[in-house]
């Protein structure tokens, strides 16, 4: 029976491949391989805390601001524990709401149109949805143009994007004035015009189903809904079905000291919101199938220095396997909306069959729902920022403490774990959403979320496993951030230390 290696997985961020073992037209087993390691966390060690947001942001050129945000949260948590930090001004949190909000819209648009969308376009799958075609589809084109506008608005506060410069421990170092705010409003208004009114969802859904063209005042919405309807027509509610366990970190600040989207865990059919202490204690990482030594796993704050082992028997990924209470859990917009108990326009109930179902279709629907929810709050956040108010609290690098930053990144639950000793980074660890979703198996052989979702899936044409690709991309994987490993002590690589050599194994 064929074992198929899909290498590379394209239209995702970073290096990934998938091995599927197909028996009798079904996937008997699947392996998710993360193919890159850089050691970014190592590089933070010995550096001053203020430099860390800049460094860890560069982990990923797609989710740059998410990593910068989580890094500042981890440092702020540590400094507060050390008693040298009194908290971030709410005005700065509001500005971060604005920046994170624009970023999330940008990220979801990029995913829906350029990474996942082509799978449901006429060009790839004869679906009849030619507006989604890469290169010349009208919907794809206008999305490309609008993602630029969104990042331009973001840049008014961030200086440039990707890789902005203004989140710092204690707040934001931007200098907005009235003109800045006017330019941001103008850009967001033009994106709003492209998307159209949220209320139009039922009408647009009907228009897409009837194969009517896009209404002139809701073209963006029409194209996003087209992705969902096309996915439903392709049966995406039935494939890519995960174990139905979810974990979400919260995101966006409200004026009562809480978060607009709450964090939470959904296991055994019900949602609960564990305390921060319980949450942090429940997270572990397993290295039994990763190219690191066995001893490198454990709790991210207590694990001994991880040691890479590129020739390790049985290992197949540069990602560790994060587990919550020992179990693989799915994260992402779907997890967030399940934790929030929200299903706008009943799209997941009606189009997806069940609002809490872990399916390829529901992951796409949740992304569209979240896009609209955040878009509808963004305007209010922009108006509530006081450009004359405080944007940053006083900060010192000189302390000793541990801290954790938990944030709802666009792709799901992100955590940064830091230990600062005498003003220098002694230990750093990142657990990214993609690691939760696309990591390898654990010691007990339990598959990761993606591996679980692929196993049992029907594969009609092993040479073109389109639903496998659709499922992988439904997690919006981002592997720049899935690199791993840090520690405060010297460790050396063993094994592969060959010098560059030319080869002639290319098929020519």
């Amino acid at each position: 029976m064929p074992e198929i290696e899909i290498n590379p997985t394209t239209r995702i961020e970073g290096h990934h491949s998938t091995t599927i073992d197909v028996r009798d037209g079904q996937i008997a087993s699947a392996k998710s391989h993360m193919e890159m390691f850089r050691g970014i966390e190592n590089i933070t060690v010995g550096r001053p805390p203020s430099d860390v947001p800049q460094i860890t942001q560069m982990v990923c050129g797609v989710c740059f601001t998410s990593h910068r945000k989580a890094a500042t949260l981890a440092l702020e948590d540590a400094a507060a524990r050390a008693g040298v930090f009194g908290g971030v001004p709410y005005n700065a949190r509001l500005l971060q709401n604005v920046m994170e909000g624009m970023f999330l819209l940008w990220n979801h648009a990029i995913h829906l149109f350029t990474l996942a969308g082509p799978d449901y376009s006429d060009a790839v799958a004869d679906t009849g949805y030619a507006r989604l075609n890469p290169n010349e589809g009208a919907g794809y084109e206008s999305a490309l143009s609008n993602q630029r506008t969104l990042l331009q608005a973001f840049t008014e506060f961030g200086g440039r994007a990707p890789h902005p410069l203004t989140y710092a421990p204690g707040g934001v170092v931007a200098q907005p004035d009235e003109e800045t705010m006017d330019r941001v409003r103008e850009r967001i208004a033009s994106v709003d015009e492209w998307v159209g009114p949220t209320d139009a969802v039922p009408e647009v859904l009907a228009a897409v189903r009837d194969r009517r063209g896009p209404p002139s005042d809701a073209r963006g919405l029409y194209d996003m809904v087209s992705v969902l309807v096309a996915a439903a027509e392709e049966g995406a509610d039935e494939f890519g079905v995960g174990p139905g366990r979810f974990y979400a970190n919260g995101m966006f600040y409200d004026d009562s000291g809480g978060l607009v989207f709450p964090g939470g865990v959904f296991v055994d059919g019900s949602v609960r919101d564990p305390s921060r202490t319980e949450l942090l204690a429940s997270i572990t990482e397993d290295t039994s199938h990763a190219w690191y030594t066995e001893e490198s796993g454990g709790h991210p704050q207590r694990a001994p220095p991880p040691e890479p082992a590129p020739d390790k028997e049985g290992a197949y990924s540069w990602g560790k396997a994060p587990r919550f209470d020992g179990q693989a859990v799915e994260t992402g917009p779907l997890a967030r909306l399940i934790a929030a108990g929200d299903d706008p326009f009943d799209l997941r109930s009606e189009l997806g069959g069940d609002p809490q179902r872990s399916s390829t279709l529901n992951r796409l629907i949740a992304r569209v729902q979240e896009f609209l929810l955040v878009r509808d709050m963004l305007g209010e956040w922009i108006e509530s920022v006081d450009i004359h108010g405080p944007l940053r609290a006083e900060w010192t690098d000189d302390f000793t403490a541990e801290g954790v930053g938990l944030w709802g990144a666009s792709r799901g639950a992100l955590s940064h774990w830091v230990r600062v000793e005498n003003g220098e980074i002694a230990n750093y660890q990142i657990i990214s959403p993609t690691l939760w979703n696309l990591g390898p198996r654990d010691k007990a052989g339990n598959p990761s979320i993606l591996e679980y979702a692929l196993e049992g899936m029907a594969v009609e044409d092993p040479r073109d496993p389109v639903n496998v690709m659709r499922t992988i991309r439904s997690y919006d994987p981002c592997l720049g951030c899935a690199v791993h490993v840090q520690d405060g002590e010297e460790t050396r690589f063993v094994g592969d230390l060959e010098s560059p050599r030319p080869t002639d194994s290319l098929g020519d």
Binding site: C60, N135, T503
Partner: protein, 406 residues
Amino acid sequence: MATAQQGRRPTERLHQDSKYDFLSLAVDREPGDVISEFSTEINAALDRAVEDDLDVAWLQGQSCTGCTISLLQGEHPEQFQLERFRESIAFHPTLMTDAGDRALEAIETAPDVLIVEGSIPVDVPRAATLGVDRDGARRPILDWVVELAERAEVVIAVGSCAAYGGLPAAGKRDPEAVRASPTGASGVQFEGIDRGGVLGPEFTAGSDLPVINVPGCPTHPDHILLTLATVLNGYIPTLDEFNRPLPLFAPLVHDDCTRRPDYEAKNFASEPGESGCLYEAGCAGVHANCDDSKRLRNGGTTICRDVGAPCIGCVEPAFWDRFTPFYETRETREEIGEPEPIEESSRAIPRPESRLAGLLIAIPVCVLLLPLLPVVGALWLVGRWFGPDGPIAWREDPRNRTVGDR
């Protein structure tokens, strides 16, 4: 166009019937003007790549994909340019439609142009792989780059990681770094400021050019577009000492900074996010060479200093070590044996309030100097004709200097 013919590349494959050398055209123009003025010609260069089946392959080593995402933000002049750009690249892991073997088939075994994004792990080749070889073993990006570079006409390293090693190589050159570059990350033809890297200091591609570095973290989309369109038109760009296309990387960030008057007045901010010159807050603009101060980012929206962020020197080799801690005052140029850039660039953007005053002074000065024009013109022509090598290098090269010892 005798000078242009001089710069025409000798190889047949990329020899195009076009007179447009976009990088040379950039010498006399404001950043951004070449792309808006010659958009049709730039598109024609990309179109020919598609029509003539020129193969452009884009490989990602240890990358964050930020340079690709930056490319998507290129605005000038219209988005269709991006479409042509993408169509002209046969293999791009983030943007292409196919996956798996079908995707790999799009990589020609002898691409005309090889573009590399991300650093290359030399000590642990397995730390970045793409596809499998005939034996089913994961194929290191290192092997891909070595093999394809030898057969390519032109090799372009996009972003500071591919050019100089970048973040994955941070600490590699610093004996005091606690944990440095666990994978032995390297640039394609540089390791930090030193020539060498994966391909070695002597490497030249089929066009006799070394690897063209287009650094930045991330790279500027205009810089990629202008460099690619120029080589597709068959011209050899003049490079600086770190193999960057000279016109794009000649000015210092400091030269044309809008906060320059604060620098001259010694009005320094002590923290990022404050008013005043950011030099004491860690700005590396006096050491960093690129035209971003006037070109700006994200379709001309902003650049770092506009939001109160000091330049982190992201276009310079080994900037993760050389310019960190980021928010501490950098050494002066004098301390590293460089001339203090006292005079503002002649192309500096005047502040609105100074524009009128400038005009009032400039008009009588121009009238008085008018009789000298033929003499200046003649001197300019002579200088250009006998310049050291070709159409760009006639210009005084501010890069003819060494980086301070570290």
